[in-house]
């Protein structure tokens, strides 16, 4: 018994000695704040909370989720960019904050490419083309024909100007050579209600957000903007299968840290976050929300964000939808 205790003590001493003086190797030495630049209860917030909860048992310090909503994530992101790049302030935000704001707002107080380093793209969910249940068009072909027959008449609901679903509508019009009327709402919920109520005609929504309504017959789903069909809706074709290229659109969420973070701290955080996202329980819960876990590497995530910003900047320019018109 005594020897055992001695051994344990010795082991502990050895471990302390190996760890050396207080350097970045000690990360984390104090609680880590995860800024969510959106209100509590939304997708960004839920993902941050699920991930940190799963990380907590093996993470040496508490992980604190802090909501800093405002301006589609710009207020919170600006704060993260101003924070010390020591790994104790990180962010969990959406495609809007990382990929679309830079394309849309010229005076943005941060640039995701210059001021942030991605830790991982956590999850993604494809956008799907849904219509009101009473719309005559039963396929994408029929819809395009109807749009071409009467340009600028059909109502395309979105969760807001410059939202991922708005830009997806723009992209759809651009690649199919059609047009419609964009009707922005304040958030996805009201837009979905008006599709179900028949007050608007067409919308691009996240698969997870509308899956229940489609199953219930309250909306019609015509196509999915993903690389492959969804196992949940095996009958719904992808745009590529329909001969429409360039319509692969996912909404995604990702973790990031201020530029210049210590590589060791970055590695610790990135591997803890991706491991947490990949635990079966978390992956299962995220799947229930319609999300597919990506949990890619920091380098892949950085490249992806840069690519998304370029892509949406092009759509914004072609559609002439900058706020300063």
């Amino acid at each position: 018994m005594k020897t055992l205790r001695m051994m344990a003590l010795g082991g502990a001493l050895l471990a302390t000695a190996l760890a050396g003086p207080a350097t970045a190797q000690d990360f984390p030495a104090k609680p880590v704040t995860v800024i969510v630049p959106f209100a509590p209860g939304g997708a960004s917030d839920t993902i941050a909370r699920l991930a940190t909860q799963a990380m907590q048992p093996t993470f040496a310090q508490p992980l604190v989720v802090e909501n800093k909503p405002g301006a589609n994530g710009a207020v919170g992101a600006a704060q993260v960019v101003r924070a010390k790049a020591d790994g104790y302030t990180i962010m969990q935000a959406s495609i809007g904050t990382y990929g679309i704001n830079p394309a849309l707002q010229p005076n943005l107080p941060y640039d995701p490419r210059a001021d942030l380093e991605m830790l991982t793209i956590a999850v993604r969910t494809p956008n799907v083309l849904v219509t009101r249940p009473t719309l005559e068009a039963d396929s994408v072909d029929a819809l395009i024909a109807a749009l071409k027959a009467e340009p600028e008449t059909m109502l395309f609901a979105s969760s807001g100007t410059g939202s991922s679903d708005h830009l997806t509508s723009e992209l759809f019009w651009q690649v199919t050579g059609t047009s419609g009327i964009h009707v922005p709402y304040k958030g996805g919920g009201p837009a979905q209600i008006d599709i179900m109520g028949g007050h608007a005609d067409v919308s691009f929504q996240n698969l997870g957000a509308v899956a229940g309504f489609v199953r219930d017959g309250k909306m019609k789903m015509l196509a999915i903007a993903a690389a492959e069909r969804s196992p949940e809706f095996p009958d719904i074709p992808t745009f590529r299968e329909l001969g429409i290229e360039g319509m692969e659109v996912y909404s995604w969420q990702g973790f990031s840290a201020p530029k210049g973070i210590d590589p060791a701290a970055k590695e610790t955080l990135a591997s803890a976050i991706t491991a947490a996202l990949k635990t079966p329980a978390v992956a299962e819960q995220l799947k229930g929300m319609g999300f597919e876990v990506l949990a890619n590497s920091p380098a892949e995530a950085d490249a992806f964000v840069a690519q998304e910003i370029d892509r949406w900047a092009e759509v914004v320019k072609a559609g002439n939808i900058t706020p300063e018109q």
Partner: protein, 501 residues
């Protein structure tokens, strides 16, 4: 008799020991935090959300729902005692509730709020039980045109709120509408009147304006004159309503319940109008409209019932459609998702324990709220007799905490200070803040729905009149204008005749 077996299932869930305990805990915590100025249901639930992670889904939801009613009720307490409405629905409660408190009837006002809320909550729960799936269709029938007409009706009703000069009231409403324009324009995505500050990109929070104009404004004007401080000076007369008070209360409570239950179903901001509409109605049907604004018990009973009935029925769109009708419901949906439940049309079938358990617990929660709060009234009433120099610094501190908790931003505290000065000046100018707040709440929705309606009907304004629900709402609004103007017109005419003679 499907419903009976469903209710039995619900009762088994709600009456289990742990669910009862968590319901009580939720109601208690909600009340305790809700009475702190500025901390409304949203902030309370956001703070306590992590507590529910380890619980079973139905227990978590029951507790969160308890916090929701508790905080809502606690908010009315602050509105009545210290004239600090923490959310739009308690603005009107402050109008007459605070006047009652100043007359030494704080206990009676609080009891009226508690009893009215309980009756309304019970009736609304029955409505949900029998009609929830059917009622969700009403939510879908309301498109942009209908919402716009509803908001117009609300705006007309807000003129009735004023107890002083009509001109001042209209001016305040317009000022509120203008303040509501600050923030990102929904249609173009352009930021308006934000002076390049991203903190203003989402507009100014209601709580900031209310805390500033009502709370700080009141405190500033009280500091000015030591002899005329308007805290409760009068001796406290009777904690409980008497029989004649009950008689005056019953009809307003029932009318308020009806209005609240219907408006609560509408996810596009209908619930916000409930208490305003109930107040306007009570003032219109009362034989003593001059008492309103001076401590009319009907002016507390009606809006409080409407508010609570609306709070219950706002669960309908959340549970049957999976769509949040307010930030609290958005949080509840978030909580459900964390529990692995996707709220939506299929919840009733797939999660009967959750759905029916919640419904039965709504009633239980309301009962607990009543039982918990009636004995506490004495304590609350004593609280406001705390000397001024201790009470007011505390109120200011809590206001700051509450406002900070909205977005975790110190910018918001400065903004509240600014509105405090504005509130003081308005008081000096004899302008009431309530119409300003209503204009502020309605303005953005009015604009949003008008512009969306015009987009949807491709610029055709006649659609407001050709759609039946919209047309009826506009007609009622017109009647309301006529009824407001008629006495004034008649008086003018009488004057003119006098001059003729």
């Amino acid at each position: 008799m499907d419903i009976l077996s469903d209710l039995l299932l619900g009762a088994q869930t709600a009456f289990s020991f742990s669910n009862l305990a968590y319901c009580l805990l939720g109601v208690f915590l909600g009340t305790a935090i809700g009475v702190l100025p500025g901390l409304g249901p949203t902030a309370t639930i956001a703070m306590l959300l992590p507590v529910t992670f380890g619980l079973a889904p139905e227990t978590a939801l029951i507790m969160l729902a308890g916090i929701f009613y508790g905080a809502q009720y606690g908010g009315s307490t602050t509105a009545i005692l210290v004239n600090l409405p923490g959310e739009s629905s308690s603005v009107v409660t402050a109008l007459d509730g605070y006047q009652m408190a100043r007359k030494g009837q704080a206990g009676k006002a609080l009891a009226t709020a508690a009893i009215g809320s309980f009756v309304a909550g019970s009736i609304a729960t029955v409505l949900i039980t029998f009609f929830a799936p059917m009622l969700s269709h009403i939510a879908l029938a309301f498109g942009p045109h209908e919402y716009f007409s509803l908001m117009v009706l609300g705006l007309m009703a807000s003129v009735v709120l004023a107890s002083g000069s009509l001109l001042h009231a209209v001016g305040m409403i317009i000022l509120g509408l203008i303040l509501g324009l600050i923030g990102t324009d929904t249609n173009s995505g352009e930021m308006r009147f934000t002076f390049g500050m991203f903190e203003l990109a989402d507009g100014i929070s209601f709580v900031i304006v209310a805390m500033g104009v009502f709370g700080l404004g009141e405190i500033l004007s009280n500091l000015e004159d030591e002899t005329e401080r308007s805290t409760v000076k009068a001796r406290i007369t009777g904690l409980m309503p008497r029989r004649e008070d009950f008689r005056r209360m019953m009809a307003p409570v029932l009318r308020g319940t009806g209005i609240g239950a219907v408006l609560g179903i509408l996810p596009g901001g209908g619930a916000m109008l409930a208490s305003f509409a109930a107040y306007a109605l009570e003032k219109k049907v009362s034989h003593h409209p001059e008492q309103f604004g001076n401590g009319a018990i009907e002016g507390v009973a009606g809006p409080e019932s409407a508010n609570n009935a609306g709070a219950q029925t706002s669960f309908i769109p959340m549970l049957t459609l999976g769509i949040p009708s307010n930030p609290v419901m958005a949080l509840m949906i978030g909580a459900l998702i964390m529990q692995g439940i996707q709220p939506g049309p299929s919840v009733i079938q797939e999660q009967p324990v959750l759905f029916w358990g919640l419904i039965v617990s709504m009633w239980v929660g309301n009962l607990m709220l009543l039982v918990l709060n009636l004995p506490l009234i004495g304590l609350w009433v004593k609280m406001i007799s705390i000397p001024y120099r201790y009470l007011y610094p505390c109120i200011v501190a809590f206001c700051m905490i509450g406002v900070f908790s909205l977005n975790n931003a110190s910018f918001d505290i400065w903004l509240m200070g600014l509105f405090g000065i504005a509130g003081y000046l308005l008081r000096k100018l004899d302008c009431e803040p309530a119409p300003l707040l209503l204009g502020f709440v309605l303005g953005p929705m009015l604009e949003e729905h008008l512009r969306r309606a015009m987009l949807v009907s491709k610029g055709d304004a006649t659609a407001f009149l050709t759609r039946p629900i919209s047309a009826v709402l506009l007609l009622v609004a017109l009647l309301m204008v006529v009824s407001i103007l008629a006495p004034a017109v008649r008086a003018k005419r009488a004057e003119a005749f006098v001059e003729d003679e």
